[in-house]
Amino acid sequence: MKPIITLERFEKVYQTGEVKVHAVRGVSLRVLPGEFVAVMGSSGSGKSTLMNTIGCLDRPTAGRYLLDGVDVRSLDRDHLADLRNQKLGFVFQGFNLLSRTTAEENVALPLRYSRQEKLSNHDRRRRALRALQLVGLSDRADHHPNQLSGGQQQRVAIARALVTRPRLLLADEPTGNLDTQTSIEIMGIFQRLNRAGMTIVMVTHELDIARFCLRQLVMRDGRVIKDEPVKDRLEAAAELLKLQHEHQAVQLTV
């Protein structure tokens, strides 16, 4: 199987004034199709830089990065943008939906920027609605972000990331702004997508959340210090049930 992500001795150096900051010092990494990777690490560990590079928002200072077989280092801004549009889906901590724009229009937004397939308005609507269906929000298509709960907004954002049928889903602290139950619900969606074949790389600092993934990567000081399969993996459906029982138990005792 050809890997989705191939990083070879990837380094990133930032020049801030006089000081050189070595954010990532030689990371080699392969992510195969169908993997579900949690990237962990404290702030300053280089995980954001790693994610930005994997997300084609930034280019390596040294080393090689192949995304789905495409060497990213030689590409200019426009081609990076096209690559993000075609191969990547982003999910952010703060949802980053456009306000005063309906869920459906938010989801359809990446299709407007597609240079590969020119879709009619009608086709874009259809694709957006199907993506909303995948996250179970087709009945909220006409709602504006401020009429949706945090969990619902994040589901709209996931639908937006899925609408271009990307090769890789990148999530940056997707549950950071959500309560426990909603977080598990979102992880449930990710697990479902992963089972259907979607490759996912997710940054998180919560161990509980990382346990929903298949592979765990820990970074420190610009290096990967741990890379192993997740032991005692959690299932979102089971965890939700457990949570409901706990709630009921609390209510009964009170």
Partner: protein, 404 residues
């Protein structure tokens, strides 16, 4: 694609409606000012042209004067140099003319019964009313025979007639000019106010022969009016008359004419040149306010780019190219300026209407100025919108996403 981007732009602008309207206001006022000012300028020009046309068609005026004495040019009226023989020579020898008349102007007191008033007297021949496009309303023009015989007949302007005779028909009445009794043979139609603002209907026209003998005592003319057959012949007639008069007045090679000759064409050009300068000035003032409006747009677009940095980051992360972002903000600026321009055009037309209704000025809203204002406001949108849009398009997506 453009429709899509326009849709995004309109949404973004609707998000802050008051700010959008205030930004448009600058362009609106600018465009409205341009249109109204140019309309007023054009109106003035049209009025000048209409008055010059009413002055007479294909007219050439020959004035005595410009004789230099001791190196000092005396200008018009410095000395009467045009003789009756000159007049007759022009009449006989110049081709391409329909009529010639001397024009004597004086001003004196006239009386009728117990009424008297000071009015201007024109001495001319029977062709004068024809040349000046000034028909007789009642009665008849005087005849060639009256001119030859220095007859005591007169045509009367409406204002003079009204002052002397009220509502009674002046034709057949007697007026005394310098004690000589003149019979009114006809009343002229009203000609209105002249360019200088004087009442052209406060006038009495008598045969020039009578005027010379009985009123002024002059033997030479100050001025001759010549009418060319066509507009195209004005120049040729002008040269012919110049040559004839130089020959008759024995003016040597290289010496100045002792007369001034002006065609209607030249007078029109002079008058329109003046009003064109005025139009240009008004337009320039209005243009400055357009410029200020443009700067307002740039200002707001810069604010808007900063406010929406995060949105730009999101758009870039999902695959918008720099050019997509550039187009989005450029179209937003264009929507502001063209929207303001269109409203401004309506306001300008309305303003011109109000000015003409309130102050009685003639205003002419030209299609040209509307198109120009529209193109100009679009150009301002592009010019002042480009810098903020470019700034937006060059943002680093990582920085933009992190922006709070």
């Amino acid at each position: 694609m453009i429709i899509d981007t326009l849709d995004i732009a309109v949404r973004a602008l609707r998000r802050n409606l008051l700010r959008t309207l205030l930004t448009m206001l600058g362009i609106m006022i600018g465009v409205a000012a341009v249109i109204a000012m140019v309309a007023i300028g054009n109106g003035a020009k049209a009025q000048v042209e209409a008055q010059i046309a009413s002055f007479g068609q294909n007219m050439i005026v020959v004035m005595s004067g410009n004789a230099s004495r001791g190196g000092v040019s005396m200008g018009f009226g410095g000395a009467s140099t045009l003789t009756k023989q000159d007049y007759e020579a022009i009449r006989k020898e110049i081709s391409g003319i329909t009529a010639v008349t001397p024009e004597i102007r004086t001003s004196t007191q006239i009386m009728s019964g117990n009424q008297n008033l000071n009015t201007s007297i024109i001495g001319a021949n029977e062709d004068y009313t024809g040349i000046h496009n000034w028909p007789v309303k009642s009665g008849a023009n005087f005849a060639e025979a009256d001119v030859r015989a220095a007859g005591k007949v007169a045509l009367i302007g409406t204002t003079t007639a009204k002052t002397l005779f009220g509502d009674t028909d002046p034709v057949g009445q007697i007026i005394r000019i310098k004690n000589a009794p003149f019979t009114i043979v006809g009343e002229l139609v009203s000609k209105g106010t002249s360019l200088m603002g004087s009442d052209q209907d406060d006038v009495v026209i008598v045969p020039y022969t009578s005027a010379m003998v009985r009123l002024t005592g002059d033997t030479k003319f100050r001025s001759l009016n010549v009418q060319a057959e066509t507009y195209q012949q004005l120049a040729s007639v002008q040269t012919q008359i110049t040559e004839l008069l130089r020959q008759r007045h024995r003016i040597g090679e290289g010496k100045d004419d002792d007369f001034i000759i002006r065609t209607q064409q030249q007078v029109t050009e002079m008058a329109t040149a003046t009003s064109q300068v005025m139009t240009l000035l008004l337009g320039a003032v209005a243009g400055v306010s357009l410029l200020v409006g443009g700067i307002g747009i740039m200002n707001i677009m810069l604010v808007s780019v900063t406010e929406r940095t995060r949105e730009i980051g999101v758009r870039m992360s999902i695959g918008a190219r720099g050019s997509d972002i550039l187009r989005q903000f450029l179209i937003e600026a264009l929507t502001l300026s063209i929207g303001g321009g269109l409203i401004g055009i309506l306001l300008g037309i309305g303003g011109a209407e109000i000015v003409s209704a309130k102050f009685g000025w003639t205003t002419v809203v030209s299609m040209q100025s509307i198109v120009m204002a529209f193109v100009f406001s679009a150009a301002i949108g592009v010019f002042f919108g480009y810098y903020p849009a470019r700034k937006a398009s060059q943002l680093d997506p990582i920085e933009a996403l992190r922006y709070e």
